[in-house]
Point group: D2
Chain length 145, copies 4
């Protein structure tokens, strides 16, 4: 029985705002959210076995080709934010993640999305989903084994 909703897997992690990440206006400089997304994506990856180092072991890297960030509220020094990272499955040779960052009060401060492609060790873009990622999809239940 087919489903039209995209299959998703999430993981929630925390990031503590660093003093040097806060700008003269007293709020986290917007560019640092890209780092928070990466922190969330790598926490997801370590938990689900698909981190940068797992990819490297499979002789692939997955450079970001698109990123997007919407800022709703500021974070400030002292905040420990929650990063909810969601892998959004697709049929293309891509990895898509969405992010929701919440402040200590549970309000969404930022939403984002990144798209990654697969590049083999030699530098060649993979036009098909690499075997290691097919295997990962099966392992986590996104594909029938």
């Amino acid at each position: 029985m087919p489903s039209n909703t995209p299959k998703e897997i999430s993981f929630t992690s925390e990031v503590r705002v660093r003093f040097a990440e806060v700008d003269p206006l007293g709020i986290v400089w917007h560019g640092n959210y890209i780092q928070y997304f990466e922190d969330g994506r790598e926490a997801f990856g370590r938990h689900h076995g698909i981190s940068y180092l797992d990819q490297k072991d499979s002789n692939f890297s997955t450079p970001i080709v698109e990123s997007k960030c919407e800022h709703k509220l500021p974070l400030t020094y002292g905040d420990v934010a929650t990063v909810k990272t969601t892998y959004v499955d697709c049929e293309a040779a891509k990895m898509i993640f969405t992010y929701e960052i919440l402040n200590p009060q549970g309000q969404v401060v930022c939403k984002g999305r990144t798209v990654q492609v697969f590049v083999a060790l030699g530098g060649e873009l993979s036009l098909v989903i690499p075997d290691f990622f097919i295997a990962w999809k099966k392992k986590v239940g996104l594909l029938d084994g």
Copy 2:
């Protein structure tokens, strides 16, 4: 005689890739492009009289509420990239900039877009275009004086 094309003003600046901006894969880490956009926007602002410090003198700040980045090609250490920053006029109380970053060979490595809003000194979001920004639009020819 009305025009449907948005009015735009551009400025071109340069950014030299720093060693610490390059990641273990030997390319500029994607999050650093947000900094390059800001470098371009501030170079535009200094040239056209609408930089962060000009805004501050008018008792406003203009936090980023949206940013978007598309990566086409990598930059690496030793590259001096060109940043073309374009102010895209709109009727809302917003500042929209687009960015094109070119490598030393003149190829587009990255395209981006940011949206900023106007916040008064006390922290209140301005729902109308502040006077200083109306004055700036007139000065640079985006509005009839």
Copy 3:
């Protein structure tokens, strides 16, 4: 009964190396250790009640006036390092911390030292130890109450 050994208090925390902190040589860029020192100092501060925010509540900031860093071994991506932060008591109006950063194998990769001074809210350097810091020294047993 006088003691010639300086009185010290330590705290141990962890820092996970971020991908963007690693340079093209595959090792943590040396400048990032200053951030790791701050991470350690703030973890110490939160534990012992003398963090940046505690100082701010007392209307003081404590800018760094000296920092020193000796690198023994590299850290790389995937490493979770241990930061041992030690407050070294002195009689001057200063805060001195030393740092030892250890890799996952327990080897010292980096040693450091920072010196901070006390600046009152208005911007004036304090030539004497501020009351809040005297109170803190008593609280943690560095001064007789």
Copy 4:
């Protein structure tokens, strides 16, 4: 006729303070001076033919093993600082640089020093001065040719 003063070569460059380099106190975060030192050292290196890329062409890297920084005055957003980088010759297999950073008023805001060693491509520390660096010393007049 021998000289007791160390032989030195200097180069002066500029660095523009970035918004994201300024902390909530409105001054450049102290850790960013390590980046300014590197900016100065690389500007020196490009001018005198001994930059990171020149070293790499000779199959060597020169990791920092010591760095030191003394802060005298703050820098703030809008400042274009001057970095005076001085190579201080020594007989060991080391590269020693000192730094003086001046604010737009010409006051010294920061002084620093870094020590680098020579590591061959394979990762081995060189206990003697590599040939390419001997050649460089001759070229710039620090050694008789």
